[in-house]
């Protein structure tokens, strides 16, 4: 048991039985006649004795962490977009010093996300455009909640001058996963090595679970 776990236990005002049971499990000397305060004191002292161990651990970890410190940036001028689930995409950027200075001179740095499903994007033909203001000094990534599953998205990082968007970096295209059965009734088959196309619905309906659904605590 760590010091933190023990402190959490103590903060919950345990009963004398609980405190004694724990003290015994920690192999502390519990006497039958001990009062609750005494048992708690015993546990508190034990918690304090764990401090030095923890600190040594910390020193060791900080030393290892310092030795392994990774670069904050690789100056690669990259905007990378990942789908996370049908309604969430993640984008991060890694800027060269030139791009960074170009953007930091701007009043309004923005991140754009385009729905480019089934289009060859030319900068103007997206189905929908989503925009978010960005503080370059504070953040290097962004999660967009997106309305469409099974859709292609593309991000651009840029700035606005007099309301006009000027893109600086463009990301890859990321497709959000599907979250619903297909609307198609076509079935393609390989039957005895021959390709056959049929039309029809399957005889079973899957029993699905909807992401993020939960019982309301208050309803119990």
């Amino acid at each position: 048991m760590t010091r933190e776990e023990l402190e959490v236990f103590l903060s919950k005002n345990p009963t004398i039985q609980e405190a004694k049971a724990l003290a015994r499990r920690l192999s502390l000397k519990v006497k039958k006649r001990m009062k609750k305060n005494e048992v708690l004191k015993l546990l508190q002292d034990f918690a304090k004795s764990l401090v030095s161990e923890k600190k040594e651990e910390e020193v060791r970890h900080t030393r290892e962490a310092r030795e392994n410190e990774l670069p904050q940036s690789y100056g690669s001028d990259r905007l990378v977009l990942f789908p996370v689930n049908p309604n969430l995409v993640y984008v991060y950027w890694d800027l060269s010093s030139e791009t960074l200075s170009k953007l930091s001179g701007q009043k309004e740095v923005v991140l754009r996300l385009y729905d480019v499903t089934y289009v060859v994007f030319d900068g103007t033909n997206a189905h929908r455009i989503f925009e978010a203001g960005v503080h370059l000094a504070m953040t290097r990534n962004y999660y967009f909640h997106v309305p469409m599953a099974n859709a292609d998205y593309l991000a651009e990082l840029g700035f606005k001058v007099e309301g006009k968007f000027v893109p600086v970096l463009r990301s890859n295209v990321a497709r959000t996963p599907s979250n619903a059965p297909s609307a198609s009734v076509r079935q393609r088959w390989v039957i005895k090595a021959k390709r056959v196309v049929k039309i029809g619905e399957p005889p079973l309906k899957p029993i699905e679970r909807i992401r993020g659904s939960s019982q309301l605590e208050s309803g119990r």
Binding site: R78, Y90, A174, P177, S184, V185, R188, K192, P202
Partner: protein
């Protein structure tokens, strides 16, 4: 009467944890526990079934890091040393026991650890031999897994990274077993449309996905999840049956919660006086589970210190009852599905191997009883994926949906606010590896080739899905963070040395010794022009 097929799939993986210059490392205990509690007991159970001539079929994926750990003699020695120390602890326990029941329990563990040690010796210390034996007898179909269990959907924008993960997965398997794997377990069932083409390229005939990969596919699956489908590139996909895992895992109805089963969280490592147990817990003095547990679950509500003593006989009775119950449920399911489809259903039940034995102590005996009882009835047939592909002559062609078997069914577990920082580094070093592989493609200097090969090993080890998973679940986070940082840092340091022509041979030798996976690997895998050579 028509039959139904049941495919039990055990996915076996641990991240590569190897600290050869230290005593038993805290995280090396994952491996020790898995061997002593799951892998050896399962292999012994397969042996018993075979001796009794009980027909059984199991599909087992063995991940490349695990195969590389099996081969690692330093690690095997650590497992044996630890098992011997546990035997010694059991002897102390027998001497100090107050009751016959406690003495019996200590004796039970002593026998168990000794049997494990014997078994390891019988396989020359390499568990791969045990799995291979059952593969050769036809009861087990062994399959591979992508190289370091990297989560492939998050690598798809760097296809050369996916290609190398799949390729190294196939090659590791061949190196250990001498034959090609016909199937591959994709880490976390992570699939995206198009991945089948890479699998096809390396001769992989089938893989597994979660149920909704079929349900949300480009066209509706006629047989739901109860028949494999063929992807457009001709690779077969098998989908998980949601009912089978629910029956085993469910918090309210699941079998492992039965009061007669062994309690996982009550362990001598925490129960005994500090000075007495100190030689058996972590070298830092932190208490950990030692794997000797005298208590049973008793009831879910019973506090840990009130648990009653374990009774092996009762626990085995419970395993038998549950096996019968599971069998009856499978038969009912097969009958229902046969009624719907008028064709034999294929039920696919994949589990993490460590569930059986490690988390659920009596899990191997549950499976044993299940196979034993099932052998007496005709409606349920066991099969391997390759047999299923042979048995049917019609398959639907669909593209499974992008998905995983993780929480929520997509990619959240491996990409969220707790672990998203790793992407900056992984994406960067993959691109650098690709550029270097192309620049140095014709390199002849053996020292430089060694550096480049080691860089690819560091990259692959950093890609393991275990690190972001651990950051999400919140236990051992520091170790996971440190592992990613260590591998990326080693990659960057080696790169600097290579480019500056200033290679530190001592440093190189040290990282080669610690991160000693895939000794045959070739950095040129990462070059775009590289196509797999035939034969």
């Amino acid at each position: 009467m028509m039959n139904g097929y049941f495919l039990l799939v055990l996915h076996t993986h641990l991240p590569y944890v190897n600290h050869p210059n230290h005593e038993l490392y805290l995280e090396e205990r994952w491996y020790v526990e898995a061997i002593l509690e799951s892998y050896v007991p399962l292999l012994m159970m397969f042996d018993r079934l075979q001796e009794k001539k009980v027909p059984f079929k199991v599909t087992i994926s063995l991940s490349p890091p695990l195969l590389e750990m099996f081969r690692n003699t330093t690690l095997t020695q650590k497992v044996k040393d630890y098992a011997w120390r546990l035997v010694e602890l059991c002897e102390k326990e027998i001497a100090r026991a107050n009751t016959q029941q406690e003495r019996d329990l200590a004796g039970f563990y002593r026998e168990r650890f000794l049997a494990c040690l014997n078994y390891l010796d019988s396989l020359n210390g390499n568990l791969a031999n045990g799995f291979k034996k059952h593969a050769e007898s036809g009861n087990v179909q062994l399959i591979s897994c992508n190289a370091t269990h990297g989560f492939l959907p998050l690598m798809r924008y760097q296809p050369f990274a996916v290609d190398t993960q799949v390729r190294v997965g196939v090659e590791t398997f061949e190196h250990h077993f001498g034959f090609e794997p016909r199937g591959m377990w994709l880490a976390e069932c992570g699939y995206y449309s198009g991945l089948d083409e890479t699998l096809k390229k390396y001769g992989v005939e089938f893989f597994f996905v979660d149920s909704h990969a079929f349900w949300y596919a480009d066209e509706k699956p006629y047989f739901d999840v109860y028949r494999p489908v063929m992807t457009p590139s001709g690779v077969f996909a098998f989908a998980r049956d949601p009912e089978s895992s629910e029956q085993v895992w469910s918090a309210t109805l699941g079998y492992p919660g039965d009061g007669r089963y062994r309690e996982f969280y009550r362990d001598l490592g925490f129960d005994r006086d500090y000075d007495y147990i100190k030689p058996y817990i972590d070298k830092s003095g932190v208490r950990v589970n030692v794997g000797i547990k005298y208590h049973r679950i008793t009831s879910r509500e019973t506090p840990l210190d009130k648990k009653e003593l374990y009774n092996r006989g009762e626990a085995l009775t419970a395993a038998k009852e549950h096996a019968l119950d599971f069998l009856n449920k499978k038969i009912a399911q097969i009958n229902k599905l046969t009624g719907v489809f008028n064709q034999p259903p294929v039920i696919v039940a994949p589990f993490d191997t460590e569930l059986f034995g490690h988390w659920w102590f009596e899990g191997p005996e549950f499976l044993e009883s299940f196979f034993l009882e099932a052998s007496k009835c005709k409606q349920i047939k066991f099969a391997t994926p390759s047999e299923i592909i042979e048995k049917f002559d019609s398959f639907q062609i669909i593209t499974p949906a992008d998905s995983s078997w993780g929480n929520g069914g997509y990619f959240d577990t491996w990409l969220n606010g707790k672990n998203d920082w790793i992407q900056l580094h992984l994406v960067e070093i993959r691109d650098r590896m690709k550029r270097l592989a192309e620049t140095y493609f014709e390199e002849k200097d053996p020292l430089k080739v060694r550096v480049l090969n080691q860089m690819l090993r560091e990259l692959l080890l950093a890609e393991s899905s275990d690190w972001p998973f651990i950051m999400t679940t919140g236990t051992n986070v520091e170790y996971a963070v440190n592992r990613i940082k260590t591998h990326v840092k080693r990659f960057l340091d080696l790169e600097t040395q290579l480019v500056k022509d200033n290679i530190d041979g001592e440093f190189l030798a040290r990282v080669e010794q610690e991160d000693d996976v895939f000794p045959w690997i070739d950095f040129r895998y990462y070059a775009a022009s590289q196509i797999r050579k035939e034969g």
